[in-house]
């Protein structure tokens, strides 16, 4: 019986072994972060677009994720053209638009877009915890793997606990008049309550785990099976990354 978890979608990317997919992703995004030549930037953007089509994900999915670009990126992109560089493109009196700064903005924006689009595409082909299991299969220390799986499992539970407590507070007048430290204190109590609940629940979870033999056997059953296609996919990613970095170095000489 195959133990693969599937998300809606049956593209090549969806069917890849999660371990190979993750390694390929990391290699690619690091390669992207290395690029600074504008020709390679264009190639990178084209590659990202191709990857997007290969993934079979709907366009609005990516656009939704990109709706709120990082504030820091925004600030940099807007500010750098005016504070960095010597060659002035446009003199506006007390500030001037500089070529190097503009180029740096474009560089950052392009790299950022390509990287997070690639990350979003690849990571959304499987549930989050599948990626954690893939990392565990590749040697992530058991403490971190077990922790990550539990965090993933209980995030929503605690999130709903929080919502309920917040609603209870609001029903008793949380958002009405009293200003200042009161506002901080009620949020502090909300946080504190959540932490207390989290720890109490942890006691029970640990009991449940022990009752079913947690720690009794370290037999990590590998649920992933790689095929030739997976290796080919990884090889393709490695080649693309290698080519990009090689070209970057060569063009920079």
């Amino acid at each position: 019986m195959s133990c693969r978890v599937t998300q809606p979608g049956s593209s090549v990317l969806h069917r890849m072994d999660p371990r190979f997919r993750l390694v390929g992703l990391f290699v690619l995004i690091f390669a992207f972060s290395f690029v600074s030549d504008f020709r390679l930037l264009a190639a990178m953007l084209a590659f990202t677009l191709i990857l997007f089509f290969l993934s079979g994900l709907p366009a609005r999915f990516i656009l939704q994720k990109l709706k709120l670009p990082s504030l820091i990126i925004l600030v940099l992109v807007l500010v750098l053209p005016f504070v960095s560089g010597q060659n002035i493109l446009l003199d506006l009196g007390f500030i001037s638009l500089k070529q190097e700064g503009l180029y740096a903005s474009g560089l950052i924006a392009a790299r950022f877009l390509c990287i997070i689009t690639t990350v979003m595409i690849v990571l959304h082909t499987a549930p989050l915890l599948t990626h954690v299991q893939a990392m565990r299969a590749m040697g992530l220390p058991w403490i971190m793997a077990d922790m990550a799986l539990l965090v993933g499992r209980y995030l929503e539970v605690l999130g709903s606990d929080l919502k309920r407590m917040h609603t209870a507070m609001r029903l008793r007048g949380l958002n009405s008049s009293r200003p200042g430290l009161y506002v901080l204190r009620t949020r502090a109590w909300l946080c504190g309550s959540l932490l207390v609940r989290g720890l109490e629940r942890a006691d029970w979870v640990y009991r449940a785990m022990r009752l079913r033999g947690y720690g009794h056997s370290r037999a990590a059953t590998s649920q992933f099976r790689a095929t030739a296609l997976d290796m080919a996919g990884l090889a393709a990613a490695l080649m693309a990354a290698g080519t990009v970095m090689g070209l970057e170095i060569w063009l920079g000489l």
Binding site: V5, G152, V157, R201, W204, A208, R212, G213
Partner: protein
């Protein structure tokens, strides 16, 4: 107390108290014979859950001895012969997907992967949750979670299953499924519940606990039919034991 060759659980002079002095148990003496379906009733704080945790080796008694299937409970080993189904399924289901959660116990029993798979699917089918196998646990309804948490116990094929408030927060339909499932789920079962009708339907013996002690035990209808006794210990006579003078219109 003599060792009973067919006993599932024996508690001999068991006493316990938490470090903050809450939830104490005093001098609990009790034997559950294999094949029995025993109900434990009593108000909140009577010590039912505490006793279950002692029986499974999660807590160690301050005084006294506990034996599971004639072997002393030390708490240091993993004993899949006894399974405990918690009141809150979210405390019990800690894996990303249903299938992994149900498979967790058998995997730790050192079984071969084919056997693990077999037991997992059997348990899921027994609770009618096979279609939920690949779902993340937090996407399930309360009733589905409860069924899955029972499946996690069934997969270990224990000799004794202990149910702690199993029908809490269940809708009527799921409660009925639970009642139908429980008697056959293991050779011996123990149920702690405020749902007295469930206890009446499922159990062949009832133990009344209050303030950390066993008050009395015996036939469910006799004990739960004693209105004065029940009220004295924060309970009520179950509706079905109350004589009906006005017949229902059919």
């Amino acid at each position: 107390m003599n060792l009973q060759p067919s006993s599932a659980l024996e508690a001999e002079k068991v006493s316990f108290a938490y470090p903050d002095n809450g939830g104490a148990l005093h001098d609990i003496n009790l034997t559950i014979i294999r094949g029995e379906k025993v109900g434990i009733i009593g108000p909140n704080g009577a010590g039912k859950t505490t006793f279950f945790l002692l029986a499974c080796g999660i807590l160690r008694p301050v005084f006294g001895k506990i034996r599971l299937f004639q072997k002393p409970v030390t708490g240091r080993e993993f004993n899949p012969k006894a399974a405990l189904v918690f009141q809150r399924p979210d405390d019990q289901l800690f894996c990303p997907t249903v299938r992994e959660d149900v498979a967790f116990g058998p995997q730790n029993m050192g079984l071969e992967s084919k056997e693990v798979e077999k037991r997992t699917w059997k348990a899921l089918h027994d609770v009618d949750a096979a279609s939920l196998a690949e779902r993340p646990v937090h996407h399930l309804s309360e009733g589905e979670k409860k069924m899955v948490s029972i499946a996690t116990a069934l997969a270990m094929q224990p000799g004794l299953i202990i149910y702690d408030e199993p029908s809490a927060a269940l809708d009527i339909r799921t409660r009925r499924r639970l009642i139908n499932l429980m008697p056959g789920s293991a050779e011996t079962i123990m149920v702690a519940s405020h749902d007295l009708e469930l206890v009446l339907e499922v159990c062949t013996r009832v133990i009344l606990m209050d303030q950390g002690r066993i008050i009395t035990q015996g036939d469910p209808a006799r004990i739960m039919g004693d209105a004065e006794l029940m009220q004295a210990h924060g309970q009520e006579k179950p509706h079905s034991l109350i004589p009906h003078y006005f017949q229902h219109q059919h």
